[in-house]
């Protein structure tokens, strides 16, 4: 027992090679082996959505995957969303400006979930936003600020990607499609 394997994973654009136990979850790999503790663990059985990451551009619960399953794949965590160390992504700015977070525990999962959602659906209705975040539990905002932030982010992203404005605001290098 205690079988191990060497895996190679690209996280937020950086390539990591590590030897891991085969039973290690992807969430624990990201947090404990790579030190990227922005990915939070709430329930560890796929209910709360706090550990949501993007796997090859698609949202997934990292507590419901094994690290060995990510071998050869690309991952984006909350640390990789901002375009640079001193600049927030428009989605993050919208969260800050609309009171989209209080304690911040659910925020990494909300951001990664909404990053994928707004890419698929750039002009959503409030109802569509609520359905999109239905797999993410927040215990303090009452969701209203988060929904406001998501709708505001859609507007910001639409205006920043209008012709001639340059940077569309997506962390394209880090979000393979």
């Amino acid at each position: 027992m205690g079988d191990k394997r060497t895996i190679s994973v690209t996280v937020n654009g950086a390539r990591y090679e590590r030897e891991v136990e085969v039973r290690l979850t992807l969430a624990d790999f990201i947090r404990h082996h790579l030190g990227l503790t922005g990915t939070h663990l709430g329930c560890e059985h796929g209910v709360c959505g706090a550990c949501t990451i993007l796997l090859d551009g698609r949202s997934a619960r990292s507590c419901l995957m094994l690290a060995v399953q990510a071998d050869g794949h690309e991952i984006l965590t909350v640390e990789g969303i901002a375009p640079s160390a001193d600049k927030l992504h428009p989605l993050q700015e919208a969260f800050r400006d609309n009171h989209g977070l209080q304690c911040g525990f659910c925020t990494p999962g909300m951001l990664t979930t909404l990053l994928e959602f707004l890419r698929d659906n750039p002009d959503p209705t409030e109802q569509e936003v609520r359905i999109a975040i239905s797999g993410n539990l927040c215990r303090c905002t009452g969701y209203q600020g988060i929904v406001d932030a998501a709708l505001d982010a859609a507007k910001r992203l639409a205006s920043s990607s209008s012709p001639g404005s340059g940077d569309p605001g997506w962390a394209d290098e880090a979000v393979p499609t």
Partner: protein
Amino acid sequence: MKPPPFHYHDPRTLADAVELLSRLDNAKLLAGGQSLMPMLNMRFVLPDHVVDLNRVDGLSYIRESDGALAIGAMTRQRELEFSDLVRARLPLLHEAILQVGHRQTRNRGTIGGSLAHLDPAAELVSIAAAYDAVVTVTGPHGARDIAFAEFPAAYMTPAIEPHEILTAVRIPSWPQGHGHAFIEFSRRHGDFAIVSAAALLQADSAGRVARASLTLGGLGAAPVRMREVEHALIGEPPGDELFRNLCESCRSLEAVDDIHASAGYRQHLAAVLARRALVKAAERLAGGAAPRSVH
């Protein structure tokens, strides 16, 4: 919460996966992992071997042939959700898939995993029952088909041998112009249904019901096809009063009593949701054969 120790295998071909399964004791197949991974994390299951199907070639596809869609077991629920073919040919499946978990779980979850896991409240299990799907399993001695009516052997136990792998499901489509509806009651969007109802209706040229399928999920160990209601609908013009009267029989179905709902409440939901599903399916019949309403 950590999974217990196990040996991990990630075969690249179906033949290798079948070979591993026939050789290894206490092995568990890992598909999308949206049910098995929580069960491992909580140590409800303690396999000696996990055989991961995610790198097996050729198990993910949606193809049309002979009036049915053949769907590979490892086809992600997301692929079903966004498939134009599914939307056109299996609108009932399309309607139900939107209620299966959340975007994050549909990105990983597979149709084969959901059917093999056979949760009594799972939407895809009800849909397979509603369409009279045929499941293909492959073992050391080749492939065989199982009609979905014969598929549930017991609570969360499909009629698959330990060394067989569910590889595909074939879902027959209904003719253009048929009506469909999937309705469920759950505490929150994306939760498993406490009770679900799936209805398919086809009308003849005079607007009378020519064919009907009515399935209730979440009541017992497996979805229930309401055969007597289906037969009683044949030859009748669709109408609220007819549906209401026929669906009263759903109140006498056996139902489980648990933390989510009492048996009596489930039986009530069964009658109400079955009627609503039939009404909605009738409204969607081509030609606008709107059901006669009761006043």
